[in-house]
């Protein structure tokens, strides 16, 4: 192929536009379907004959007591603590594993990895019994608390990889200047991995938005429901309110989209500047 043609920005744009549209076809379908009546849902046409904006207005007005505003508020509040916990603690733990040599480090790191490999379905009931005994039902604590203990194995592992990519010479230099390991962490490592913490924040946000099973177990009153749980109320045994369900679930991905859009610059470049080395 002609080299200049391939590097031509116009060609590149065209390629990207076509590819983006292909990836976005489902979204286009989704927007269309969210405006359909139940009867129209089975027709293959993408766009409804008359758009049912009602799906959005009535869907938002969830029940006489609560609107989706409440559920978005609940979820965002929970997300705030999740993200805060993950960001605050994952770097600390990762630094310990990546840089400090202590007894049983290898064994403990293996345990950390192993906790990712045991399917959560078999630990969730003992975990529930534990929180139940601590009288923490119908609160966000069981959902938020784990994020304050290192934010989960995935993120610790990820940050360990980032920190390993920072040249060790920097630590040594600071050490000569009289810095302690704590000083090195706060003055050298933390500023350097700050951008990659944005990655942790984004992934935490997106993944806890989706994690309905724990939310379903721990939250009892509808007033405390997250968006994910409220959406599931539309799927009844005999009646699925597809229009409202699709309308509201489309809205429910918007916070993640907006967050991704504004944060991607930081995290794409963030990882780049610190480097990701094994």
């Amino acid at each position: 192929m002609n080299k200049t043609l391939r590097n031509n920005p116009v060609t590149r744009h065209l390629l990207l536009i076509v590819f983006s549209l292909l990836m976005l076809y489902p979204v286009i379908w989704w927007v269309g379907a969210s405006l359909k009546t139940t009867a129209e849902m089975s027709s293959p046409s993408i766009w409804p004959s008359t758009p049912m904006w009602e799906n959005y207005t009535k869907g938002w007005q969830f029940s006489p007591e609560f609107t989706f505003g409440r559920f978005f508020g609940n979820t965002l509040l929970m997300e705030f603590w999740n993200v805060l916990g993950g960001v605050l603690t994952s770097a600390i733990v990762a630094y310990g594993f990546a840089r400090l040599n202590f007894k049983f480090r290898g064994a403990l790191f293996s345990i950390l990895l192993l906790t990712m490999m045991l399917p959560g379905q078999v630990t969730i009931v003992p975990q529930y019994i534990l929180y139940n005994k601590l009288q923490l039902m119908d609160s966000y604590i069981p959902l938020v608390l784990p994020h304050f203990f290192g934010g989960g194995a995935f993120f610790i592992f990820l940050l360990v990889q980032f920190i390993r990519g920072i040249p060790r010479e920097l630590d040594e230099a600071a050490k000569i200047d009289g810095a302690s390991v704590y000083g090195i962490f706060f003055r050298i490592v933390l500023p350097l991995i700050k951008p990659s913490l944005v990655t942790v924040a984004i992934f935490t946000f997106i993944w806890s938005w989706d994690d309905f099973f724990a939310q379903m177990l721990y939250l009892n009153s509808v007033g405390k429901f997250t968006v994910g749980l409220a959406l599931r109320m539309y799927v009844d045994q005999f009646e699925i309110q597809w229009g409202r369900l699709l309308a509201m679930s489309l809205l429910s991905v918007l916070p993640s989209v907006v967050l991704f859009f504004f944060a991607q610059k930081h995290f794409v470049e963030g990882i780049a500047t610190t480097g990701l080395k094994g």
């Binding site: 139940t38 009867a39 849902m41 089975s42 969830f62 029940s63 006489p64 202590f102 007894k103 049983f104 969730i124 009931v125 529930y128 019994i129 534990l130 139940n132 005994k133 601590l134 039902m137 099973f213 379903m216 177990l217 009892n220 009153s221 509808v222 749980l229 599931r232 109320m233 539309y234 799927v235 009844d236 045994q237 005999f238 009646e239 699925i240 309110q241 597809w242």
Partner: protein, 437 residues
């Protein structure tokens, strides 16, 4: 230094575990000690934990009913928890495991066997329902001689058909008390008159639909004696699925990959609502949903009958009291009021189906919506020939899943009917034997 850290950690870990085990053994008897308002002082305030499942209309009606109850019994308030069907049945086992089931809970015919047999529900035989629910109905609902749920509505199994499309194609409509032969003939005749891609009846892969066939010919239910006896009639099994195999070949039933995409009551995937099939099984509850998907187009008939009858008519929605309940008497009093009081009935209306108590139903009758009328019609057509409701016993859920998977393999041509019979009866006998021990 290293040693101390290690020792310290070991100690920490051990003490953490000890503390947790201590909690573990101490926690279980907590439930029984603090039960104010029970036995004795009836005016002490009681907060009843109550859980149910359904759609929003039902939730609202249920909440209002509780308000009415509180206004009449000011000492009783409620802590409600409600969700849709799937989540409800997902959450319940975990609650049972942690001994935190609510005082009052919604039960369903498909689940009550498991929960009752495994000791999570209270016997409610002592609630006096004379003149409200007839003795025979209650007797049928007993599991091991005990009543674990008070029925709140009536249900029946029949069939729905696409009246509009069948009439348009000039096909004679199904008639009340049609026989299985007439059902199959209906399918054969309709095939010729229907356009390509539209089918008179659907294929079947679930155990209950075959069971209706076996029972109507007097061969009894498949799972008997609370799961200790397994009874699958080979001759009828071979005949029933043999006919369906023939139909598959003649395109009287849809192809296998279409059948497995069907999902009842889902507007996109319902066999009837999607326009693919002319008939399907329906209950009082589900026919209303179907009516909403295809308003004015459908009608109902009872399931095909044999010498013994056809289909069933029996309550499948219950209110139960859990063994974890902290206020058992208050819970029972509420349930009794819920089933027998007219003010209660007026408030929840037909949100749980046709109310079990005739007086409540008669008061509601003039206000019924078309979908509810259709449900009532289904109930009325089914009741004369109805056979006993024969649910699976506790411990049989997996066999039910495997039945469907095996029959799917037959549908896709991967297994012969005989092989399927052998597999299904082998695993059924094994479970029956295990339950017998």
């Amino acid at each position: 230094m290293k040693q101390t850290v290690y020792k310290g950690l070991t100690l920490l870990m051990l003490s953490a575990m000890l503390a947790l085990t201590a909690c573990g053994s101490g926690g279980s008897n907590k439930g029984e000690s603090n039960a104010p308002g029970d036995n004795g002082d009836s005016n002490a305030p009681v907060k009843l934990k109550i859980m149910w499942q359904g759609a929003d209309i039902r939730h609202q009606a249920m909440l209002k009913t509780q308000e009415v109850y509180t206004s009449k019994n000011p000492s009783v308030t409620f802590s409600p928890e409600y969700m849709a069907w799937d989540d409800y049945w997902k959450k319940l086992p975990t609650l049972a495991a942690s001994h935190s089931l609510p005082d009052v809970l919604h039960m369903d015919g498909a689940y009550i066997q498991e929960y009752a047999t495994r000791g999570t529900l209270e016997d409610l035989s002592d609630i006096d329902l004379t003149g409200v629910i007839d003795e025979k109905t209650l007797e049928n609902l007993k599991i091991g001689g005990k009543l674990y749920g008070i029925p709140i509505s009536r249900n029946a199994q029949g069939m729905a058909f696409n009246k509009e499309a069948l009439e348009a194609a000039g096909i004679e409509l199904p008639k009340k008390d049609w026989t299985w032969d007439e059902y199959f003939d209906f399918a054969r005749n309709a095939r010729a008159k229907l356009p390509d891609g539209v089918y008179p009846i659907s294929d079947t892969d679930t155990w209950d639909f075959y069971q209706y066939y076996q029972m109507s010919f007097g061969k009894g239910s498949i799972i008997q004696e609370e799961g200790k006896k397994f009874n699958l009639d080979k001759e009828l099994f071979m005949k029933f699925y043999g006919i369906h195999a023939e139909f598959r070949e003649k395109k009287i039933v849809p192809p296998a990959d279409m059948v497995s995409s069907f999902k009842e009551n889902d507007p996109q995937a319902d066999p009837m609502a999607s326009g693919k099939v002319m008939t399907r099984g329906a209950t009082v509850g589900s026919v209303g949903a179907l009516e909403q998907l295809m308003p004015g187009k459908i009608d109902v008939v009872n399931l095909p009958v044999g010498p013994e009858g056809g289909g069933w008519a029996q309550p499948t929605i219950f209110l139960s009291v859990s063994t974890d309940a902290k206020h058992k008497d208050a819970a029972k009093a509420f349930i009794k009021w819920f089933v027998t009081d007219k003010a209660a009935g007026e408030t929840y209306g037909t949100n749980f189906g046709i109310p079990i108590y005739d007086e409540i139903y008669t008061a509601l009758e003039p206000t019924l919506a078309p979908k509810e009328k259709l449900g009532k019609k289904l109930y009325d057509t089914s009741i004369d020939k109805a056979m006993p409701f024969s649910p699976a016993a506790a411990g049989w859920t997996e066999w039910i899943d495997n039945y469907k998977k095996t029959m799917d393999a037959v549908m896709f041509g991967q297994k012969s009917i005989e092989e399927a019979y052998n597999e299904i009866s082998k695993s059924g006998n094994a479970i029956a034997e295990k339950s017998g021990k």
